[in-house]
Amino acid sequence: MRREVPLLITAVVGITFVVKYFVPHFPFNRMDAWFADWFSIVQACAIVLGALNLLKLSALKVIGQKSGWGYALVIILSFMLITVIGLAEGSDYRDPGTSFDWLYVNMFIPLSATMFSILAFFVASASYRAFRARNYEATVLLIAAFFVMIGRVPVGDVITGFMPEGYRFSDLAIWIMDYPQTAGQRAIMIGIGLGVVSTSLRVILGIERAHIGTGD
């Protein structure tokens, strides 16, 4: 019951959505829209689980006075701050001038932008290790990355300013992105496509069961 029912649901729903592609009549022609809506609603319920889990873990840390409990308290307070304000604002919570918008502009954006921007430093240090031209393949990777990077900043065209239009670093970067990069990307995309097809078949047929867990 605990394993068979989810497997049955997966198979029936999966086959229904495959059939839907070939039947352009009601109700199959509405299923894409329905699925998108259902998925959105389930997402909203899933975030409740996630948020409760975060609060529970943080609260346990605070109550037990475990290492770093002060930071756990900050997590709870900042979560409560933006959530209470956002829920109290009503459905127009995003309008400019609202308290939620103030928190979004002055806290969420600076934090997320800075968090992602420091990746530039880690990427630079990783590239120093990875980009050493140890063999032909690494050298090709290094050259492609160099031309794309230098072609996307003004100094690239300043350096190659003496070259005719169409042969500068920016043009080379565009050419790399348009042709060899596209070719490799297509091979990867086709590979991913075939992989998704086989994995989906395994899921629908019940061969792949990771999503229903291992317990009873």
Binding site: T114, G184, A187, I188, V197
Partner: protein, 238 residues
């Protein structure tokens, strides 16, 4: 008062920005504090967004409010709401029901029922992707790769220039050899192995270009933050 809040706003964002940047020196209490704020604010932000946009915007407006009003009217004998118009879609209740089942995970005794909505989502995603990925990632990409070499379209004659012909050849060669590399059911030896090796070089160019592209996008974020610190906060850039 307005000036105070303007300064407070600038200093708060600068405090958070520098707190995250301080990790570049080493892990420290300032970074941990801003990290905790980031975790709490992000979780809360997405909670609010998903509540208002997905739950309220879709389910409550689309079906929930009307249904509840109708049931309340029936129970209390009050005047029932007018018949639903086209904006009301009772199928949204299926999503609400699935969401409710997912929340049963909070009840340990019947928490296993939360696997049903998960099975529904996985099954429907599998069914959708099986066809959609095959159509978009395999068929469309293969079609875009095998284009007329010397013509801009079928039947237009020899109207392509040398750049376009070479470009089409490179794309075909790169895609084909890349796929040969991904074919592991045959040993990569002889002509097959040579083709696979060509594919590796195309894949390396792809990874290098993607890497460079990613670095530049991160750099633009970094420049944005430095611009904020030096311009908006310290006023050194006018």
């Amino acid at each position: 008062m307005e000036a105070f809040f303007e300064h407070f706003r600038l200093w708060l964002a600068a405090f958070l920005t520098l707190g995250i940047f301080s990790f570049l020196y080493k892990d420290n209490p300032w970074y941990k504090l801003t990290e905790a704020i980031f975790v709490g604010i992000s979780a809360g932000y997405w909670f609010v967004v998903l509540f208002w946009d997905n739950f309220h915007g879709k389910f409550w407006v689309g079906a929930g409010e009307y249904s509840i009003n109708w049931v309340v009217a029936k129970l209390t004998g009050a005047q029932a709401p007018p018949p639903p118009d086209s904006s009301i879609d009772f199928m949204l209740w299926v999503g609400a029901f699935l969401g409710l089942l997912m929340l049963l995970r909070l009840v340990p005794k019947i928490g296993w029922i939360s696997r049903w909505p998960l099975a529904f989502i996985v099954g429907s995603t599998g069914g959708l992707w099986l066809i959609n990925y095959f159509a978009s990632n395999v068929m469309v990409q293969a079609q875009a790769t095998m284009v007329p070499l010397f013509s801009s379209a079928f039947g237009t004659g020899f109207d392509q220039n040398a750049d376009a012909v070479i470009g089409a050849l490179i794309i075909f060669l790169g895609t084909f050899s890349g796929l040969v590399y991904f074919f592991f059911s045959k040993a990569h030896t002889g002509v097959f192995g040579g083709t696979a090796r060509v594919g590796v070089f195309f894949l390396m160019i792809t990874f290098g270009a993607s890497f460079g592209y990613t670095v530049m996008s991160r750099m633009s974020l970094l420049i944005g933050r430095i611009d904020y610190l030096l311009g908006d906060w310290l006023g050194m850039i006018k």
